[in-house]
Amino acid sequence: MLEIKNLHAAVDGKEILKGIDLTVKAGEVHAIMGPNGSGKSTLAYVLAGRAGYEVTEGSVSYDGKDLLAMSADERARDGVFLGFQYPVELPGVNGMTFLRTAANAVRRHRGLPELDGIDFLKLLRQKASLLEMDDSLLKRAVNVGFSGGEKKRNEIAQMAVLDPHLMVLDETDSGLDIDALKIVSKGINALRGPDKATVLVTHYQRLLSYVEPDVVHILARGRIVASGGKELALELERDGYINYVPEAA
């Protein structure tokens, strides 16, 4: 479903990603771990198509298409979802209006009929209750005045409504207490499926005990330096990155 080959990317002329190879098959969950500043968010942004993240070499194919040739919004409509490490506040933009506009953009792209206000509300209620989210949050301006945990839950609620094929979740677990983590994990697991793929960027093994990865990768200084099974995450939990990034000791 996702095939990244020799991906190099620069921000402000500075190379951050230095040759990433990563293949994620449909149905799989891949975790990407790594120290701060190793390029995890940069990779997530490049996949989502953020302006200013310049790909200098390599290719990314998504469902056989050239992902890098698509604009950020085309990618989203085509089923790529980025859960932001720092979800953005949209002052004055009503959460329901925003998400219905987004959902209908995706539905149009998929050849599905648009949802009217009532049908959308039903869908939203259903997804929000899965995440034990208060309706009132969704009626407010997007993310404005939300707590850190509420913002992360809102990301997953949006994801549930948009029903993406490729989920790239950037540190969705950070800032969540254990109860919220369980709820968010449940939300992610509910969206897994044989025709979907998930890339989880995380610092902690904690999330991975709720959303079990098929493969764990370690990203350090813009490269994947090791890949393995979920035991790799446990090893990192125990020893830190010392075996992979010597000076991290």
């Binding site: 989502a48 198509g49 919004d73 980025l82 004055g92």
Partner: protein, 425 residues
Amino acid sequence: MTVVPYAEQFERLKPALPGATILREQAFARYAAHGFPGVKREAWRHTKLSPISGVALEPAAESSVSPADIAAHLIPDALTLVFVNGRMDRALSNIDQAPKGVTIESLADVLARGDDLSPWLVQAAGDSPDDALVSLNTALMNDGAVIRVADGVHVEAPIHLLFFAKREGMNQVRNVIVAGKGATVTVAEGYFGGKDAYWTNVVNQFFLAEGASIEHARQQNEGLAAYHIGSNRVRLAADARFNSVAVMLGGAVARNETQVLVAGERAECRLAGVSLGRGKQLQDSVTLLDHAVPNGISDQVFKAVLDDQSHAVYQGKVIVRPNAQKTDARQANHNILLARSAEASSKPELEIFADDVKCAHGATVGELDKNMLFYMQARGLDPKTARALLVEGFVLEVLERIASPEIRDMFRTDIGGWLHGRALS
């Protein structure tokens, strides 16, 4: 002595103008002492008036609109006064339905029958060169609305003044709104016009007695070749409340100036505006809040969204006189530039002579936030839709100040239409 513009017109037109002969003469003299305010006047620095000061315009010819023309602009269940080229159209107005305790009349009628409005009218008789166009309006005023709400009367239906300009020429409009003690009323104004180059010079005078409350909404959607000079004069007695929201979309050069005298204690004045600019439009929002007595509140928010080479100006002056302790005066001005060639000028100004006061002001100019745009695109919104939602979000704070849902929706529709016409890419 150089002859000021409109001197010949005034002499020729005055026999046919309704009533107030002496007042008109005096006002013309005040205007003639200064002529048009030039760009050297600080308060008029950006309002380039040469097209209407260079060639004196004639009053726009009589014209008419059809019920179909105005249908889209009506507020449901309102008391509506329709003016075409500055003259009231009785057939399209329904002021005879005004409830008890409210009189709504044509200014021309009131003046023609010899009613003395001068106690009200002279209160806009400023001597400053900056007041020259208000004086010119007093000299040439042709029609408008006179609205009087008796003490303690709550007027349910909004009173809606609709102005249509259909030809070139000038429209000198004067509206006088008097709210008695404890009275409450909503007054909305709408300005619409065609492609012609015309000039609307409108003066609104609002008088709020003790405890009165006026909700004021102003929709300026003149034609793009029009000049629109709006001057509002507001006087607040104790415990009065004036809440005003102005949306400015039209005009080649458009100005909305509001001067408020906080004359009674504990009065509250809320002024807000949204300017949406495109092409080479100039939109000028000018306010003067004069806190003369203690415990007054003023709260201003003006926002502009500017495309192409348009230019929005906010000049807001707050005076807190020595006696006006415990004044709480806030002003905010925020601007979004949709194009690099657009321009915003912001000039909040404070003159504080009392020591125990709260005064705050803030101003920003920027582009739409790239982080926000990316976040929205990452959810599947195309850039144009994302920008439109952000702009709507940006102006929402102002629209939310409008108490009437019908008026709020009407303004929102205007703004939506404007956004729809933008490339926003």
